[in-house]
Amino acid sequence: MSDLSLENALAGSTSRRRIRAFDAVVLALLILALWQAIGSWTKGVVVSPPLQTLVYLFGLLRTWMFWDHAAATLQAFLLAFALSALIGLALGLIFGIRRFAGEVAEPILAGFYTIPKVTLYPVVLLVFGLGISAKVAFGVMHGLVPMTLFTLGAVRNLPPVLIRTAKVLRLSPGRTMLWVLVPACLPDIVNGLRISFSLSLLGVLIGEMFSSQRGLGFLLVSGMAQHNVPLSTAVVTMIVAVAIAANTLMLRVGGRAARRPNP
């Protein structure tokens, strides 16, 4: 047992990196092959094969129609994400600092999170009507709670000695929050942002799939309805690519925030 762990620690990291890169390429090729297989096996009725999709996508990116839809999604998403992030941050800080309120609220929030929020969509539509505010509401419905819970957890896990230090230094509550609390909780907050990002996007897209005439979600569903398979495949591919790219970026940023020496 002891020599295995020692060997792992001593193993050359360059060769490991090379193997990892190789495996990643193999995996990518496998995925493309699978995609191609499903595409050709179903004769393009379900998904269009990778190359065709790529070509179609590039064509799509040159149309005014596409950007109109993308802009609609982007607009709703950015609003939803911003609201989720800010409100979530604020609520999380409050519930984290006020322990009792936090203990009361946490299971309620967690419970709300387990409800299939799609089932509440009709209510949102009835309240907000069709349009962008409904979409933003969907996004916030999905993205708010995780942000709150992550922030709450971060504040709660703060080492008490930091607060004591702030008191000894006689910092005002505002300064304590800004100079001590938020920086100390930053890694978890960034994590919360990352999750909230994905979920707000999900909420907006599903909302568009359900009840909209504009947006990428709508484009996806209408593509299916018109049997325009390359369109739906292209939209899905694009969304997946954007989601993964954004997530990877946020992981990097978060990683840098986490690697700071711990306060």
């Binding site: 009361v104 387990t114 009835l126 994905s198």
Partner: protein, 253 residues
């Protein structure tokens, strides 16, 4: 102990207050009954629907779909997680995938699944598994990681064979995190299946809500909605409490 009770009381009070507030707003007409109906009406509607047996088919359909997706997700997820854990190379490849998996809105694949598998249970089950299995994989990996090496050493000192080491040491040690995975699996499978039923399906509770909405039958819609919410909260709540009990025994009071 008393603090816990105090928290519980306040929580119940807050929820009750919200419900009462909603009830009052609806009854006094501040909220339009065409938008939201009063909670008491929601309950009445739900009781009617269940009592008359109208919902039975939908309930059976949804529950069986969720159960199937749940079981498959746990089975596949645990197996995959265990296999990945044994191979460092496989782990190196899978870690980034699993880390980004939940950033992709898997739901966008649902229409594709329907095109592939037709309308009905199969795409819903697949959607449920796609939503839930990675969470199980992640928590299986985390659980296996958490088995401290001194326990494995101890197993060797006691000369336990591989099967016994797995069953008596690894599994109990990893159980808390595994269980978290199961809890998430239920949550995600439930959400995935009902969302699928809602957007694009012919049966199930999700479809029932969608149908009621499109038929302008607010009363039925809210009745089913309430039922779905109660089911979700109860099922997850049970697992949550169970999880807490498991954890509490093992961590310092």
């Amino acid at each position: 102990m008393t603090r816990r009770r105090a928290v519980l009381c306040v929580r119940v009070a807050v929820l009750a207050a919200l419900v009462i507030l909603l009830e009052l707003c609806c009854r006094t007409g501040i909220i339009d009954p065409l938008t939201v109906i009063a909670p008491s009406d929601m309950v009445a509607s739900m009781v009617d629907l269940i009592g008359s047996g109208e919902l039975n088919e939908s309930i059976a359909s949804t529950f069986s779909t969720i159960a199937l997706a749940f079981v498959l997700a746990i089975g596949l997820g645990t197996l995959a997680g265990a296999l990945i854990h044994r191979s460092p190379r496989l782990r190196d490849v899978s870690d980034p995938l699993l880390a980004s998996y939940y950033s992709v809105p898997t739901f966008i694949f649902y229409p594709l699944l329907v095109a592939l598998l037709g309308l009905g249970k199969p795409p819903l089950v697949v959607l449920g598994v796609l939503s839930a299995a990675p969470a199980v994989m992640i928590s299986t990996l985390s659980g296996l990681d958490s088995v401290s090496s001194v326990l494995i050493k101890m197993a060797r000192v006691h000369r336990l064979n591989r099967a016994r080491t797995l069953w008596w040491i690894v599994l109990p040690a990893a159980l808390p995190r595994l269980f978290t995975g199961f809890k998430l699996a239920l949550s995600y499978a439930l959400i995935g299946v009902i969302a699928g039923e809602f957007i694009l399906s012919g049966t199930g509770l999700g479809y029932a809500i969608s149908f009621a909405y499109q038929s302008f039958d607010n009363r039925a819609m809210y009745g089913v909605m309430l039922f779905v919410m109660l089911v979700a909260v109860t099922a997850n709540g049970i697992l949550y409490v169970w999880e807490g009990r498991l954890a509490r025994r093992r961590s310092a009071r």
